[in-house]
């Protein structure tokens, strides 16, 4: 831990001054000052560990062409920060087109996963029918299949459907992921039955109960599923590469791979590329995190 404490605390957003009596825990009790200090110290330590590596990459991407990025000892701050590398990424590859394709794929993946997983999760958790256990088992087994082994078979199926080289083909295999179905199932299982019962007495049918009562109560889990789905589609490399042939349809992850040139590698360019790939996800998460953590608070992901 001694390494971590070296991080200059000034680099972090300043925690509100600990004017003591104000600070309370989640149960409204006061927190002691030394305990608070210890907490922040630990938090800063973990912070350095989790985002440090990204900051290092960011710093490399901001270093100009005259700066030796392989110098030893390494320099943390660019001596003359420049956005030039980002411009060069945009000049080298049509980064906006690729980002747009990624966005389409990721957005579609979010919608299909939220809808498909919610429906299936509801069926597994709430509806009574023969074969329910089998259906649950299907999803559990699907989660255990090593995907590394089946990708060509997936491609062959896609070609038979005539969907190779389309963005639909990119989305389809992961559009209702087993893990998300199981997450939704658990969320529905944790809802008290009584609320649905009241609706039942009022004469609501299964579809109405699902839409009006069950679904709104698991908004948080939906946010979790949405983030997972977006992330998964955005980060995926091999599947889109195999399905797509036409460069105009490439997603960002594939496109950024062009930065690893055949003839020369430029670390700064690659670093700028990774930042471009990660930044939207971080932004998205920052926007959604309120729902996300609320969803988590619902007890959605609980076992």
């Amino acid at each position: 831990m001694s390494v971590l404490e070296k991080t200059p605390p000034t680099a972090q957003p300043r925690p509100a001054p600990a004017r003591e009596p104000r600070i309370t825990d989640e149960h409204g009790r006061r927190v002691r000052v030394w305990e608070l200090a210890l907490r922040y110290l630990l938090l800063l330590g973990v912070l350095a560990l989790t985002i440090g590596p990204f900051l290092w990459q960011l710093s490399t991407s901001l270093k100009g062409p005259t700066e030796d990025i392989f110098s030893s000892p390494p320099k943390f701050l660019p001596s003359d920060p420049t956005l030039h590398n980002y411009e060069r990424v945009a000049d080298t590859i049509p980064v906006w087109d690729y980002a747009l394709n990624s966005l389409k794929v990721a957005a579609a993946n979010v919608v299909t996963n939220c809808v498909g997983a919610a429906l299936a999760g509801y069926a597994l958790a709430r509806l009574r029918y023969r074969g329910r256990r089998v259906a649950t088992l299907v999803f559990i087994l699907a989660m255990l299949v090593p995907v590394e082994g089946i990708i060509i078979a997936q491609f062959t199926t896609m070609r038979e459907l005539g969907l190779n080289n389309t963005l639909v083909g990119v989305v389809l295999p992961g559009c209702v992921s087993a893990l998300n179905v199981l997450l939704m199932r658990n969320a529905f299982l944790n809802l008290p039955y009584e609320i649905e019962e009241a609706a039942y007495v009022d004469g609501a049918n299964v579809w109405q109960r699902f839409c009006r009562i069950a679904l709104p109560s698991v908004k948080g889990t939906l946010a979790v599923v949405a983030i997972f789905a977006f992330m998964g589609a955005w980060d995926d490399f091999l599947w889109p590469l195999i399905v797509l042939s036409d460069p105009s349809k490439f997603t960002l992850t594939i496109g950024l791979n062009y930065l690893h040139g055949t003839f020369a590698n430029d670390e700064r360019l690659v670093a700028a590329g990774t930042i471009i790939a990660v930044a939207p996800l971080i932004a998205l998460f920052a926007c959604l995190q309120r729902y996300f953590f609320r969803g988590v608070g619902e007890g959605a992901v609980k076992g």
Partner: protein, 300 residues
Amino acid sequence: MASPTVPGARRVRRQLPSSPWLFAAPGLLITGAFILYPFVSTLVNSFTDRRTLVPGEYVGLDNFRELLHDDMFWTGLRNSTLYVLGVVPALVLLPLLLALLVQKNIPGITFFRSAFYTPVVASIVVVGLIWVWLLDERGLVNSLLETLGASPVGFLSDQWLILLSAMTVTVWKGLGYYMIIYLAALANVPRELHEAAAVDGAGAVRRFLTVTVPAVRSTMVLVAALSSVAAFKVFSEVYLMAGPSGGPAGEDTTLVMLVQRTGTGLTGRVGYASAISVVVFVVTVALMLLVLRADRKEES
């Protein structure tokens, strides 16, 4: 997966006879067509000597017999098993502690929570590239060690250190993910329990052991199940740290890496690689059952 009983279920029954299947249909269809059906063909292939561009013939159990005599298979099995043993305890415990750390609503806490989740969001390739560069002999970690007076460590040249480095990356990337799962569980721990324990004069450690752990026990089981399956199927982290040939003399090869190495490319031995895939699948099913069984036993 733990499946609580549904006491009110029998009373809520107004549904069309077909609707459960309608609800489950999209999920089942996709999973069946794009995950299970391809896996069935993997099963079929495991009994053939199929290669990437040669259809191959039925060879019975030959592939499985060959596995028994393949040193690399045993190396893979050893490493994948070690990975489970190394990673799972850390991923069950550390995220729980982290969740406790960020649970209190102190100023700035949402920033910290989000920041801790960043590694989960970034793609594994990006993460791998960054870490390889950090752990290089002349990378950041080693130059920090040197300024502290220690001699540089060959994180990426020793077979065991490579495995350990890969485990570190897995844990690092998984921390935020499981932290979230624990936060969910912790939100449901009634505060009265803590207060009662505090009144009894229990210290932080004892409260953790007597209140927190029992309250989130089922979540710990879930985390153990998810992380052990993922750990046994580990590929990317080790591939990136150890290189495509699996570390010095291939000693860091994991089972899924072996699937990839033997089965891919234009000269891949698809049949043999499929046999390894089948073994991986069987072991993960067994792992899952084992974790759930342990859970049930403890419960009773």
